[in-house]
């Protein structure tokens, strides 16, 4: 199991993506897909990042839903800022202390924050756990820090526990 399929979920994902791209379930392409999926799993195992232990699937779904909502809302906010009269008034950097240390959890947090219009991950200090974030509407620093820590970091800490 572990030898042949070191990362079963990743391999399954690759296989599904392959079938989706080929738009067929015919045995030929499916067999090639299985080979690609196996190779993908082995390559990842060679990189030796360790397998993340994910917990609380319910919380994962809730976080995903929350992120979708937040991205929709910040789409509107950023569109309003761009089209508004004071487009360049309040952009700035903030420093946020993070308790999250797991590299894969940090990658997820970075993807969430950067995919959201209005906030961009700029730099992370791995030693002290400081994150440098650039935000487009920096009216209240405290609100942004609370948002990142309470809304995203806390569930990620529980999921990647």
């Amino acid at each position: 199991m572990t030898r042949l399929l070191p990362h079963p979920l990743i391999s399954l994902g690759i296989l599904l993506l392959w079938l989706l791209l080929n738009q067929t379930l015919a045995p030929g392409p499916a067999l090639v897909g299985v080979a690609v999926a196996l190779f993908g799993g082995w390559t990842l195992a060679l990189l030796d990042q360790g397998r993340p232990r994910l917990r609380r699937p319910g919380l994962m779904l809730r976080l995903a839903g929350q992120v979708l909502l937040d991205i929709a809302q910040s789409n509107l906010t950023v569109a309003r800022i761009i089209l508004g009269r004071r487009a360049n008034s309040s952009a700035g950097f903030i420093h946020i202390p993070l308790a999250l240390r797991d590299p894969q959890a940090l990658a997820v947090l970075a993807a969430i924050l950067t995919a959201t219009p209005g906030s961009a991950w700029v730099e992370y200090d791995a030693e002290a756990g400081w994150l440098l974030l650039h935000v487009l509407d920096l009216d209240d620093e405290e609100v942004w820090i609370r948002l990142v820590k309470d809304r995203y970091e806390r569930p990620l800490l529980e999921i990647f526990a």
Binding site: V78, H95, A110, A115, P117, W121, W130
Partner: protein, 118 residues
């Protein structure tokens, strides 16, 4: 418009048009933001309109339209979405870090010297 597309019922056509307009509108606003915003770091935020819900709406419209046209489920747009979601943050971060590195070397003001506060 092809005759097949013209024959689609309004219950498909209306959402497809709305989704296309919203998606294209968001992407346009994002592109406009590149012109309008004045600092490099602020401009990084603008294209994410197009890569988040701009892309999402257009892909959803495409799935609806071609599923209705072919009367079978067309969902390989999900793969496009997955690739864009996975690659955009990496690109944006790379670009922002490169700009930060250059600004620090040149001693620009208003740029933090480290992720740790001074």
């Amino acid at each position: 418009m092809t005759p097949e597309a013209a024959a689609l019922p309004w219950i498909v056509v209306v959402p497809v048009c709305l989704l296309l307009l919203i998606g294209a509108g968001l992407t346009l606003v994002g592109a406009f933001g590149l012109l309008r915003l004045n600092s490099f770091y602020a401009r990084v935020h603008a294209p994410t309109l197009g890569t988040s819900y701009g892309m999402g709406c257009i892909l959803l419209a495409s799935m609806l339209f071609f599923s209705a046209l072919g009367t079978r489920l067309v969902i390989h747009e999900i793969a496009i979405g997955a690739f864009v979601i996975l690659t955009t943050p990496v690109t944006l971060m790379l670009v922002a870090r490169a700009a930060m590195h250059r600004d620090r070397l040149e001693g620009q003001r208003g740029v933090p010297q480290a992720a740790r506060p001074d």
